[in-house]
């Protein structure tokens, strides 16, 4: 390529983006934008340690007992298990530029459908299959409404939330349906190597989710579509089809979580998993998932769920009312998002954005 030397000199002094740290060599990890998830996860680990310290300060008698501590960690993780599973699906949907408000309702619907007398007659495999199929089916409906019906995700899944609760009430006749299947009921009480099976399910789902997001073409498409749907479309990616799959994935997670909750309660009802959607969204957000899409991590979401679960646990131990607990959770969401904004808009970016509000490129 024949380019004159002056032009090269001009280019060698780029007058842009002075805030961006060089990616290679001598990078300060607390400044590099690519290391943002790592910093956030360390921050969440810090929060967990702080919660532990507070617990130890309030109840030194309990926290000095190693067996109790390990058992309590398992309690926290078990409580986080079902919400953790749906948060994995929610993380995919949000990274892909959407939102799924129907997850709580889909858990209820899947759970109720899987525990009807007719379904229970097919045994545990039939119940699990039913829950998963109902979740995926409802997810596909969500996806079709968003991708092909051009409904805003918020509205499409809000409608699904209302309708799915209604259908669940219809199927169950507003009754609590007892699960008589010993294998399903046994999932919640089983431990493998001292670790509750529910926690193992969560870790497996999260692990698969991590691989799917970070190592597969599916994950790459998700990030691309959420980051810039138009660019993805013009690059030849099937944006609509993929959007369908994202909501189906979220539905699948709801099906799995429905079985887990059914096992914990040995029953299902139409009012199960109420407001789980808000917990899942909040967990994803404090885990660093951008609500506008294109950015987020499974590990961050997992930490988000565990932090919430640990707070609930700590308040129970300290005998504090749930009102205060909810206030603390609200504050944590705000602080997490504020931190995110401070990191994203360094001074230069702030100035640039304000300088650019009116100065469009010359035409």
């Amino acid at each position: 390529m024949s380019v004159s030397s002056e032009q090269k000199v001009e280019q060698a002094v780029p007058g842009h983006a002075p805030h961006a740290a060089p990616a290679a060599g001598g990078t300060s990890w607390w400044k590099d934008e690519a290391q943002e998830p790592l910093r956030r996860n360390l921050g969440l680990v810090g929060v967990l340690l702080a919660l532990f310290a507070i617990g130890a300060y309030i109840r030194p008698d309990l926290y000095s007992d190693a067996d109790w501590v390990i058992n309590n960690i398992m309690v926290i993780l078990t409580q986080a298990a079902a919400i953790g599973v749906i948060t994995v699906g929610m993380t995919f949907v949000i990274i892909g530029g959407g939102i799924d408000l129907s997850v709580g309702a889909l858990i209820a619907l899947s759970g109720v459908w899987a525990t009807t007398l007719a379904t229970q007659s097919f045994g545990p495999v039939g119940m699990i299959f039913t829950a998963v199929a109902v979740g995926i089916g409802a997810g596909l409906v969500n996806g079709a409404l968003v991708a092909y019906g051009k409904l805003v995700p918020f509205i499409a899944t809000l409608a699904m939330l209302v309708a799915a609760r209604g259908l669940a009430a219809q199927i169950s006749g507003k009754q609590t349906q007892i699960s008589t299947d010993q294998i399903i009921n046994g999932i919640a009480t089983t431990r493998i190597g001292g670790i509750p099976l529910l926690v193992i399910i969560l870790l497996v789902v999260a692990g698969l989710g991590w691989v799917l997001l970070n190592r597969t073409t599916f994950g790459r498409r998700t990030v691309a579509i959420g980051g810039n749907a138009e660019a993805a479309r013009l690059a030849g990616i099937n944006v609509r089809g993929h959007t369908m799959l994202l909501y189906a994935l979220s539905g699948l997670c709801c099906g799995i979580a429905a079985i887990m909750l059914t096992s914990l309660a040995t029953s299902s009802q139409a009012a199960a998993a109420e407001l789980y959607e808000l917990d899942a969204i909040a967990a994803a957000i404090i885990g660093g998932t951008l609500l506008s899409g294109g950015r987020g991590t499974i590990v961050g979401s997992l930490f988000g769920v565990i932090v919430f679960s640990a707070i609930t646990n700590l308040f129970a131990i300290a005998n504090l009312p749930t009102e205060v607990q909810n206030m603390v959770k609200g504050a944590i969401i705000v602080v997490a998002v504020l931190l995110q904004q401070v990191r994203f808009s360094s001074v230069t970016q702030f100035a640039r954005r304000h300088g650019l509000t009116r100065a469009k490129p010359q035409t």
Binding site: A20, A24, I237, T363
Partner: protein
């Protein structure tokens, strides 16, 4: 020009007074790497329509923004109503009596007409808005503009483009503006609505209001303008020419022959290869009709035309990003399904769209992921991505395109405009694209990086890729292309080898077309 005789009933000095409201001298505005304004002179009198003429990049937009208080000039004098002023912001300019009507009208869709007109200065007392008063005054203003039939309570969203423009003007009047700047107001209007706009402009000037009118259409300038100031390369190349009597050739010649010399790579001697793309009778209502074009392997075909001539829409339709309503697109002898980007990509087409940041790039993602956006699946095994291979392949293309910086793991956000464009081109290189559609490839790219991009495009063609290019900069189309199509109002009006066309020819075709046509008719009569 024989055409003037029909317009000479109107005396040239009838409109406008001798009272100068605005005088600019030696105005300079620089942005990093660009001297956008480099000594601009302008004199606007009360009650006149003063036209600003200039090619894309001549500095018109920057000048408007200086007048509107968006930019502050680095050097030079701005005298408003006899006093030297430096506006602190758009609000200050508005208060002083300078209103600007931008091409993209800045109205709030879901507010009513009256609410839009009085947005930010609602008639109120004790914090309560006098809705009735606002509506009454709005009706009065709309009446002054000859559009008393627009109900003040109607939502702006439901108005057609022409109606929105009227609301913008009413807003300007509500600030008792003494100067109204109109940036290509006719671009959004249908033909018969333009006459109405001109009637309003005449009424405004009769009230002593000065109008700065920007348009690319010479026939409009002839009809509505009093005096013309021509910009070229950020400088005033002619001031206060009489709008009706200055010959077209004179105006065009003062806009052309830019002093910035672009370095275009030499055209190869080889003949273009086999035919790649064949477009026949392509059309979309309201955008373009009956477009035929061919692109051969190794050939660069350029499309010249104004904004609104349908050139970008044509490119997007060929690519399938818009659904064709008529006609066929054939690649390698096989027809492409309309409105199907994925099929076009599979057939070997690729596009670098006009809005690089919003349409092409994942700004927060690394360079290599942006480059492999179309073909990351092809490096994957059983659905598992191979980022190592992707980085290696992206590295190879980055070397080929002399991308700076060469580290493909950096976020695209941190690159300069020229290098971002290279990433987009590199994406299609990696994807094995054989026909590349480029929409404004050098927009937002500084002068030095342009030469490199031109070389990249020429090298691509030399490797056998066909290139179809759209640019609003005529020298760029002529310098880079082998063959040129000139578009005006949705039609191809001329196809010729680039060497047979001059900048003046093309500008004449895209701008003065209907005037030339009218003149020819009159001569024939």
């Amino acid at each position: 020009m024989s055409g003037e005789s029909s317009m000479s009933e109107q005396p040239v000095e009838a409109a406008g007074t001798d009272e100068v409201v605005l005088r600019l001298s030696g105005v300079v505005k620089t942005f990093p790497g660009v001297r956008a304004l480099d000594g601009v002179e302008l004199e606007v009198r009360a009650g006149e329509v003063h036209c600003l003429l200039g090619q894309n990049g001549a500095g018109k937009s920057t000048l408007i923004k200086v007048l509107a208080g968006v930019h502050r000039p680095d050097e030079g004098d701005v005298q408003w109503l006899g006093e030297q002023v430096a506006f602190s912001g758009p609000q200050a300019a508005m208060k002083a009596g300078i209103a600007t009507i931008y091409q993209e009208l800045d109205l709030v869709d879901y507010l009513s007409v009256a609410e839009n007109i009085y947005l930010g200065h609602e008639p109120r007392s004790l914090g309560f808005v006098h809705k009735g008063q606002a509506a009454r005054q709005s009706r009065e203003l709309l009446g002054r503009l000859g559009h008393g039939e627009i109900p003040p309570h109607r939502l702006v969203k439901s108005l057609p483009a022409a109606g929105k423009q009227i609301v913008s003007m009413a807003r300007a009047l509500s600030h008792s503006a003494k100067l109204i700047i109109m940036d290509e107001p006719s671009a959004v209007l249908a033909h018969d609505e333009v006459g109405n706009l001109f009637r309003i402009i005449r009424e405004l000037t009769a009230q002593g209001i000065a109008v700065v009118y920007i348009s690319h259409r010479l026939e409009e300038i002839r009809e509505i303008g009093d005096r013309v100031t021509v910009l070229k390369d950020g400088r005033t190349s002619a001031v206060n020419l009489p709008a009706r009597t200055t010959p077209t050739r004179d105006l065009v010649s003062r806009m052309t022959g830019r002093s910035i010399e672009y370095v275009f790579p030499p055209r190869p001697d080889t003949e273009p290869g086999e035919k790649l793309l064949e477009v026949r009778g392509l059309g979309r209502s309201g955008e373009f009709t009956g477009v035929d074009l061919d692109v051969c392997s190794g050939e660069i075909v350029g499309i010249a035309g104004l904004v609104g001539s349908g050139r970008s829409e044509l490119l997007e339709t060929v690519f399938g990003a818009r659904q064709a309503e008529a006609g066929t697109v054939v690649m390698d002898g096989r027809g492409l399904p309309p409105g199907n980007v994925a099929a076009a990509v599979r057939a070997g087409l690729g596009m670098a769209p006009e809005e690089r940041k919003s349409q092409a790039l994942l700004l927060g993602q690394p360079i290599y992921r942006n480059m492999t956006l179309t073909n990351f699946s092809s490096y994957a095994t059983a659905g598992f991505t191979d980022t190592g291979k992707e980085q290696a392949e992206a590295m190879r293309v980055a070397d080929q395109l002399e991308l700076r910086p060469r580290d493909v793991r950096r976020a695209v956000r941190t690159l300069s405009g020229g290098n971002q464009q290279k990433v987009v081109v590199g994406r299609w290189l990696l994807g094995g694209t054989r026909l590349l559609l480029l929409d404004e490839p050098t927009r937002g790219v500084d002068v030095g990086a342009r030469a490199e991009l031109y070389q990249v495009i020429r090298d691509l063609a030399a490797s056998g890729v066909g290139v179809l290019l759209v640019s609003s900069e005529v020298p760029e189309v002529l310098g880079l292309s082998d063959r040129v199509l000139v578009m005006r109002e949705g039609r191809v009006v001329r196809t010729a080898p680039a060497t047979e066309l001059s900048e003046e020819d093309v500008l004449d075709l895209v701008m003065a077309g209907s005037l030339t046509a009218a003149t020819t008719e009159e001569v024939a009569a």
